[in-house]
Amino acid sequence: MTRHRKIDHPDDDNRLDSMAQGVLGKPVDRLEGPLKVSGLATYAAEARPSGMVHGVLVRATITKGRVTAIDRQAALALPGVLAVITDPRMVRYSAQGMADKGPKAGPQTVDYHGQPIALVVAEGFEQARHAANALHIAYEEEPAPVDPDAVTPEMPQAKQKAQGDLDAAMRDAAFGIDSTYTTPTLMAAAMEPHAAIAEWDGDNVTVRAALQMLASDRKQLADALGIELERVRLLAPYVGGGFGSKLGIAPEAVAAAIAAKELGVPVSVALTRMQEFDITHRRSESRQRVLLAAGADGVLTGIGHEVLVSNLPDSPFSEPVTQATPFTYQAAHRRIVHRIARVHRSCAGSVRAPGEAIGVTVFEAAMDELAEAVGIDPVELRLRNIPDREPGTGRPYSVNRLGDCLREGAHRFGWSQRRAPRERREGEWFIGMGVAAAVRVNMLIESRARVTLTEDGAKVETDMTDIGTGTYTILRQIAAEMLGLPVDAVEVHLGDTDFPPAAGSGGSFGAASSGTSVYLACEDLRTRIAERMGCAEAELRLQDGRASFRNDTRELRDLLAGEVLVAEGHVEPGDAEKQARQATWGAHFAEVAVSRYTGEVRVRRMLGVFACGRILNEKTARSQCLGGMTFGIGMALTEAVEHDPRSGHIVNRDLAAYHLPSHADVPAQDVIFLPDRDGFAGPMQAKGIGELGICGAGGAVLNAIYNARGVRVRDLPATPDKVMP
């Protein structure tokens, strides 16, 4: 039976609060943790079907043009080499998340330096890698722009927004800020590189892959291969991080499937770390001009956010930098300008909170400039500008906890100890504090799950993924809570397209969306148990494998009497998301030390206070935020892709040269969740968490640098050369 719900109205029943098991929200350890640390959880590249051979993608070494010839014979003569494949169905880059179709095919046309153009297959991985390296390729090259600042950008009408007269507001403002910031290309850099192992059985293909959203990935792969959806099965039970880079089907999965069909054996295609940098989506660099007009009291009268991002000529994606700008602060006069430079760098796509990660960070740095100009406390400035209703649309907020987060954070962090810039010094080091708001849109995506209840416990099945986030564990907790079972009595099976299709992991919507589908399935099971107890579902109490209604308590086992109950939950977004502005809220606080000589910055402590609906597991939720805040440190201080100015290709292509924060960069971090319920988010009142932690975090660090040293870094990241005066 399927229990379907479209979220057309807010659900403020808070049913989960009255469940009896008491496991939801608790810091339950990750279900799959022991498997991962003992190596028993096999990632995509680790399967070893018999007869498997290895494919290595060959990259283009020109920026734009056409492949005119490939010297296959020389490659085929090398030891172990089985095939050089240039099937026109092979794709040039990854699909964007949730696309219905495969990404652009035709590897013979080159769109960017590093693009896959062929696959060399050999018995051994190193043999394939050598042959791929040795492959002689002739090109016809075309000139191509690679510098976003050197082309005339597109300005799609639908992405420009204006209310009132911002220019007049700026002219009349008691205080105005007009600052331009730049952020560099950033990479997802997930721990597990992309990999796919494809195996055919007649006309059906099974691909083990490193992917985040199997339901749409399956459509994309079927489309890319030109076969029916039903013939494709994807398996991704364990995924070692995605951060957006595994949302859509990628070149390795398509190539592996084509090669496996052609050769009649399973084929593995695993990217090297350098190929990760060459091929996977990058977060576009950005140029952001922020305009702020304010009265003498700091109350905003005008807000402008004008951005330039880039992507390949035909890509539908452009980094939604200003996503949160329309609804974070009030002001009568507003302008959003969105420009897209079409350049031949690698394809840009969703990476770690696309939009807000860099948009909120920069906007919050500009707010710090305004606070300085007006001469009021940066926390107070923000509090004065929190709107009552969404500006422009006049919709209510589902909830708006920004003020609560700022106040609670300021209190806990000891914000009152903050001094004027350059006033606090410890020897060589200037010490400063910074604050930034955290804002991220909240989304619900259609999702299904099946829950089977037997005498021995429950089993959850869905094609949802766990990309290291804790999905296994929270789905287990939801089912355990709803069905009154100890967590150990719930099995969770994920990452298989034979299971009901789920939202997948992306946009922070995974937990709430797939969790709600599990909730609904369990609600259906509860109804059926209630029938057996002769009561309404709402009157039923389930705890520790026992059902009770008033003073009648029975073992679930007896109620089932050997029967197996199966239910499917199906949630869809509905009108609720139109009725109110839904977002998740938070506040970041950072304290940094800045060397007065070398410009080195050390973050000394960080606090994030978040309100993002019901917390399903305190530990995994906290870990999500710690990760986000760490990426915030990276964005503020260390991470930057460098593009070659001539070819546009990514020059620092490994983790020694692309600087994610190391342990020594990450100080004590504290995370606080405000108790929060948002009925607009659905019957669980749970919202996205994963990305909120990064949105704005870097802004708090940048603002702390200013407070410490009096230096505004507007060209991210704030490496020593930019901070030293």
Binding site: R129, D644, M724
Partner: protein, 324 residues
């Protein structure tokens, strides 16, 4: 990676006679082989040779070529008598890498110029005569001193910078016998042959590094990099400074991240000797140290950064409280 022959050396003479490429910790060579930047046909594993001891020799220390970076950094004699070396080692790489990396391998690690690692781009060091992509390209990690029109690669080692300031001597066993090469004469500047980086000849095996008697004074190593750990130096300064009352009695300085080899400028040291420490004095030393610098647009910041890093390092070493 290309196919290669692998064997294990049973003795130093066996290794030298092989004329093959040696593998010690493999932390650099294996990467280079996987990317086919180096494609030796024969690899001889020297990691089991009996060269992994730290012993007293004369007034100094003899460090076997196979002593691991982590063991060297932790050695009590090193920490007591040559703390600049211990600090430099601990500022390099990561704990895991230091557990594998050897003293000889560290001296011979290749540059981290990103184009050197990208076989699709021209590079005179990797493929002589093809050109230098870093000139006119991304040059953040590249050198500003001792460079040529053919190559601007920087030497990435931290350990070697400390060895330089300590006047270490490299002991080499070659087909023609044993040589002792002062570290200052061990590396070669790129000129128009950037692929030749040291004075070693094929078959030469580093057997040890000899440290002379400890240098008295304050030992400092300051490394500035793009993250707090696990990154190569933008600029590093090794300094050993002995105060004589309120003047500088003696000073030795070496720089990392700036040049194709650990960089030492005797004139800068001479300018410090006998002088009272001051910001102006340190600035003069920096002028001398940076003389002849040829920065690129992307690494010109290294000049002011060196100046500042040197100043703070010297201030600390001299016990100068407040430097305006």
């Amino acid at each position: 990676m290309r196919e290669f022959q692998y064997s294990r050396a049973s003795s130093v003479s066996d290794a030298v006679a092989s004329g093959a490429t040696f593998i010690a910790g493999g932390t650099n060579l294996l990467d280079l082989m996987k990317h086919e930047i180096m494609s030796p046909g024969r690899v001889v594993d020297i990691s089991r040779l009996d060269l992994d001891r730290i012993e007293a020799e004369g007034e100094g220390l003899r460090i076997g070529a196979l002593v691991r970076n982590s063991d060297l950094a932790a050695d009590l004699r090193v920490r007591r008598d040559y703390p600049v070396l211990s600090r430099a080692l601990l500022a390099g790489a990561s704990g895991q890498l230091r557990n594998m990396a050897t003293t000889g391998g560290n001296l011979l690690q290749r540059t981290r110029c990103p184009y050197f690692y990208d076989t699709a781009t021209p590079c005179n060091k990797r493929d002589p005569g093809t050109g230098c992509s870093a000139i006119g390209g991304v040059s953040r990690m590249n050198a500003v001193l001792g460079v040529s029109d053919a190559c601007i690669a920087a030497h990435p080692s931290d350990m070697a910078v400390a060895m330089m300031v300590l006047d270490a001597v490299v002991e080499v066993e070659g087909p023609a016998g044993t040589r002792r090469i002062p570290i200052g004469a061990f590396y070669r500047l790129p000129g128009d042959t950037p692929h030749i980086e040291t004075v070693l000849e094929p078959g030469d095996l580093i057997t040890a590094v000899l440290l002379p008697a400890p240098k008295p004074g304050e030992h400092r190593y300051r490394k500035v990099r793009d993250r707090a750990s696990y990154a190569f130096a933008l600029v590093s300064v090794a300094a050993v400074v002995r105060m004589d009352g309120d003047v500088i009695g003696d000073a030795a300085l070496a720089f990392g991240g700036l040049a194709p080899m650990p960089w030492r400028v005797p004139a800068a040291e001479a300018a410090l000797r006998g002088q009272q420490p001051s910001a102006a004095l340190f600035d003069r030393a920096a002028d001398l140290a940076l003389e002849g610098a040829k920065p690129q647009e992307g690494n010109a910041f290294k000049l002011p950064l060196t100046r500042r890093t040197l100043a703070v390092t010297l201030a600390e070493a001299c016990g100068l409280e407040d430097m305006q």
